[in-house]
Symmetry: C2
Subunit: 698 residues, 2 copies
């Protein structure tokens, strides 16, 4: 009877979340109709938009081919090793393909919508700023809702079907395959897109702004279309794949922890699905809020986040009490539904906390950014020193709050409590990505305005929105890395539990010690701690190399066709797009494979083994969190320090301080848009691969 | 009988090391005579040298007063808490005073010798490069031998006397007080000197080179004397205090581990003393080698290191076999003398490995520096990106080898093996500091040459030596941080053992778990991991603020006395010296107190406690190692990339690439000379304070 109720609960809970996910998708399609129906502007605007669209599609198609060939190799490896241990049959391999496919699709969709919304935002900006804001936000919201809906549906459908075929326990474990597919593809998408966007941006700036004195988006700059394509393939497609992955992995991590530590409690499996489902409703209400509210752009966007969080916080309460009427036994202690509810609220609070903190460090209205701006008055070097210092300072509060969140959520419900807090934090992804995608859409809208020779006021409107978008982008990066760090910790917990399961299933005693007094753990921490440092070093090198290729091509074109400078000749935008595409795809391979190489090498070398690997996982999370926060914060702060000066402060555009601020902004580009955010999926890939290889090597 | 033999062995071994230390001191005094007897050049040279000397003395005197007042507070605190637990009586407090005094003295001596040697090196450079090399090297060797001799003598005399008064066990523990004194003062000296030297350097460059187009060391620049003072108080005094501290702490750490884990074996206590004593002999032979050999400067210096290491490696063998004829029981397993010997050789090999690796990443003859130089051709931003990436890449090999060293030395003799490897590595400090102090002496010698209007050829000679000195400085920084990381790990091991001792001495069961599966450990790793990030952020801010004060003063002087520019008026060098002195002493306080604040806060907050503190200690070591290596390597590489261009490559001086390279060099200044190296003593202070507070808080 209890078992039947439990099964019903399991089914109905998951079904409920599927329903919410479907609702989110339906709402996204309504928004798509709204966006598409809007006017795409005049002939010239449509031409430019089409060129950007074409470049983005061309890049993503080639990225799909490159990544797919790597995915096929891993799929085959998973099939070969399918009989090793617990990853029942081919389910893991199939999960991998589904995860990879969905992650790629999320990126693809994000990009497609953005290139449709950008020109329509420009057109709306010819009317009012409110109209432009809504157009850009609705475009972003499509991505947000699609990513969340897709992730929730993919995981739940796979879980239900696999559960029917291979049984519940095996289905949960084969979800790790889905997580790997999502994460691995997301590393490639983040890196490939990140290298593309910054190589094009830096390359266009170096030769365009510095050598030729072009303005941003000057149509005479042969790299300008590539630069605009970059916003879409990096900030939209890369970010969408990244957050899809974090969402899916957090959900799967929570299910895994629920299964490993609370095996007898189906509600523990359903709970993360339900949290995800509820927050889709919250996101929809948030999106509606922006479409009806009036006020300053930044306030409206923040209001939407607040609204979503409030709806979730209210609905989590009855859901938790319904699922756990008598609480749940975690590690021998019964936790009340209220305790579990608190764990879920911690995730919502963390979202708010991270948003506020990142905003402080990267918005031009506060001291850190203004300090960088003032340091620019004494030159390039002091601008850089100040920016680097701000990034390092910016790590303190987020890491402190992450520590408090871990302590509290563990206090409420052990490792499961942490997993619930993470899932609850990620459940906000729908509305958060809406804010994030808003940024590149307005950025592109500005580009279209300049290249179509629209009146200066139009660019003024998009510039205002772009400044808001910059802060939103920085804020969501803080959100992405904080949630990624927490999700990775849950995965590390799962690694240890899986290892225990694996060893005891052989009838042996689990004797592995992950104590800091064990030199192997220290060595693991060192090896893992190294990974983010060289991963980001390779990523920055990659941007440098790809940007160099752009610089050479732009110089070649300007020399071959001197008429470009006078506007008589049209630059060959296509060759620049082509060069960045090839360079980005070539350069992403080495850094993207680093996490795989590290984990497998440590597993193969016998004197190292599972304990060193455990240390490695934690080491990567610890330094990864700091490096990622420092890089994304520095980058955001440099960007807005430049904007602060461009608004007429400290000498304004063209001043000595402005030149120094441009240097900082350029250094910040690969920091905040390539290396820093690529750490998010990287630290999860490391942990997921470690879980997957347990039965193969140990 | 055995006990008596053991006691004799203990005494005679320590006496032998005292003898070697005394020999080192005698040899240092001979070198002092040699240096002082050399000609100090003409009237003008002596005047400039006197001005630098006076500024350095004035700064150090005030630094001594500031630091002493903090030391008095801590001394009183140690006396107040003397009855808490094991730190028997006032011995710990007295040890603290001795450690603090010796650390200050080491810095003071290093500075005094350097300001005597600098003008004599200039004078020697008017004859031959070989004479100048020897003068600068002998000046550096005085510091090297004094530091090592002083450390060995201070620890052994204190240990012997305290042993007679409070007994062996209490004496060993009160050595922790000595370690605290040495480390804490060294943090202040490193930071104060580091802020001073780079604030003066950056300030002088910003307003002198960039605004006025002065050359380096132009006597019209009011900050130029302050800049030259900085080399002495930062690179000489700061470095001497730092390495004195690492040496003393490594020795004490090895004694502590020997006592805690091998309590019944007096030879285990004597062994680290003997290793230290033997290497003093090696250092003396190395110094003699430079004074008789002929060849390229870099080769002669490297030859001296090789010679010292070889002598130590040969003499360690009979010493080990004499002390441990039947091996020693470590953790229940008998380790042969050969195994212990191998552990000691690991330290020597690590020295060589770190020297070679750092040289690769920071010398202008290899790819990394040349990559930065080439990146300068596309501007300031690409120079910075390339330099940051090189620094991050440079962490991989040292950390990898540290991992191997830990694994091997632990394999040979457990935690004691690691302690021995560290002590053996530090025993090379005598010769290594000789190389390091060589750098600032030649740097100053060049300054004296320019300011005294000596012929260009003299500056040519000092410039050649300065380039060698730059690489040597970078190399010794790699050595300092690698050995500091290893020494800190030994201290962490001691922390756990002391904690165990403390808990079990109350009759309780030691139940603390430092497992990575424990959230408190993870939180500790996060808090500790944060420390190097914000410590360096505050340090860089401090340099920025102090440099700003210099810029304002220089601008004021040039405005008030326009005759300075034409050479009719003499600048007021003294006010610049005074301003930097005040700024450096004010700005060093906050970052220097951070490690204390972190450890004590975590200890006081009850839900955190000893397990979080354990995680904190390791977290600080892990991220500290990476941050320090990345910062010092980037800084060294930027510096030499500029030098590479100044040698006429890629457009040479005055080119666009050169301007970008100057930006990199300036960013690198606080990286490599303030923030990066100050991490070394910081990670040890954290660990030592943790050991000391166990009986107070837990």
């Amino acid at each position: 009877m209890t078992a039947l109720f439990a099964l019903n609960l399991l089914d109905s809970g998951v079904q409920l979340s599927m329903l919410c996910a479907a609702l989110g998708l339906v709402f996204a399609f309504i928004l798509i109709t709204v966006v598409i129906r809007a006017s795409p502007g005049n002939e010239r605007m449509r031409q430019i938009s089409a060129a950007v669209q074409e470049g983005a599609k061309a890049y993503l198609n080639r990225q799909v081919i490159t990544i797919s060939s790597i995915a096929v190799v891993i799929f085959v490896l998973l099939l070969i090793f399918k009989d090793h241990g617990f990853h029942s049959g081919s389910a893991t391999a199939i999960g991998f393909v589904i995860g990879a496919f969905c992650s790629l699709s999320a990126g693809y969709i994000g990009m497609r919508i953005a290139v449709i919304a950008n020109v329509r935002t420009t057109q709306a900006a010819t009317h009012t700023i409110a109209a432009a804001l809504r157009m850009a936000f609705n475009g972003g919201a499509v991505t947000g809702l699609l990513v969340v809906g897709l992730a929730l549906l993919a995981v739940s459908i796979f879980y239900v079907i696999a559960g029917h075929i291979v049984g519940h326990a095996a289905a949960v474990r084969s979800l790790v395959g889905l997580a790997l597919g999502a994460s691995l593809i997301s590393v490639f998408a983040r890196l490939g897109g990140g290298i593309y966007t910054k190589a094009a941006d830096v390359g266009a700036d170096l030769v365009g702004k510095i050598e030729q004195g072009f303005e941003e988006d000057d149509p005479r700059n042969p790299a300008t279309i590539a630069d605009n394509v970059g916003d879409n393939v990096g900030d939209c497609a890369g970010m969408a794949a990244d957050v899809f992955e974090t969402y899916a992995v957090s959900l799967i991590g929570a299910i895994l922890v629920g299964t490993l530590t609370l095996a007898s409690e189906p509600a523990a499996i359903v709970y993360p699905f339900v949290l995800g489902g509820i927050s889709v409703l919250g996101a929809i209400l948030g999106v509606l809020f922006v479409n009806v509210a009036k006020g300053r752009p930044a306030n409206m966007l923040m209001g939407a986040v607040g609204m979503s969080a409030l709806v979730s916080a209210i609905l989590f309460w009855p859901a938790t009490h319904y699922l756990f009427p008598a609480g749940v036994n975690v590690g021998g202690v019964v936790r009340s539904p209220t305790q579990l509810y608190f764990a879920s609220v911690i995730g919502l609070v963390m979202t708010a906390v991270v948003v506020v903190i990142t905003n402080y460090y990267t918005s031009m209205h506060y001291r850190p950014v203004q300090k960088i701006a003032r340091a620019s008055e004494t030159g390039h070097a002091t601008n850089i020193i100040a920016g680097l210092a701000v990034g390092q300072h910016a790590t303190a509060l987020p890491v402190g709050f992450i520590g408090i969140a871990i302590l509290l959520s563990f206090h409420f419900a052990g490792l499961y409590g942490i997993a619930i807090a993470v899932m609850s934090m990620l459940s906000m992804a729908g509305i958060i990505i809406s804010l994030d995608s808003f940024g590149p859409i307005t950025d592109n809208a500005g580009g279209v305005a300049v290249m179509s020779n629209l009146p200066k006021e139009v660019r003024g409107v998009t510039d205002q929105l772009d400044a808001v978008g910059n802060t939103m982008k920085a804020v969501t990066k803080g959100y992405a890395i904080a949630s990624a760090g927490l999700a990775a910790l849950v995965l590390f917990g799962s690694y240890v539990e899986e290892l225990r399961d694996h060893v005891t299933s052989r009838g042996e005693v689990f004797s592995f010690q992950f104590s800091l007094t064990e030199p192997k753990v220290i060595i693991g921490l060192f090896i893992g701690g190294l990974l983010p440092f060289i991963f980001t070093a390779f990523s920055m090198d990659a941007v440098g190399k790809a940007a160099g290729a752009v610089v050479r091509e732009v110089r070649r074109q300007l020399q071959a066709k001197p008429g470009i400078l006078t506007g008589q000749d049209t630059p060959e935008y296509g060759t620049c797009v082509d060069i960045v595409t090839k360079a980005a795809l070539r350069e992403m391979i080495v850094p993207a494979l680093l996490p795989l190489i590290f984990v497998i090498t440590v597993s193969i070398i016998k004197p190292l083994g599972p304990v060193v690997l455990g240390g490695l996982l934690v080491g990567t999370i610890v330094t990864g969190l700091f490096v990622a926060i420092a890089m994304t914060s520095s980058g955001g702060a440099w960007d807005n320090a430049k904007k602060f000066i461009e608004e007429g402060n400290l000498g304004g555009k063209g001043s000595f301080a402005h030149a120094a601020a441009i240097t900082g902004d350029t250094v910040g580009d690969p920091y905040k848009d390539t290396a820093g955010p690529a750490i998010n999926p990287m630290i999860k890939v490391v942990n997921i691969v470690a879980i997957l290889i347990i039965p193969i090597f140990f």
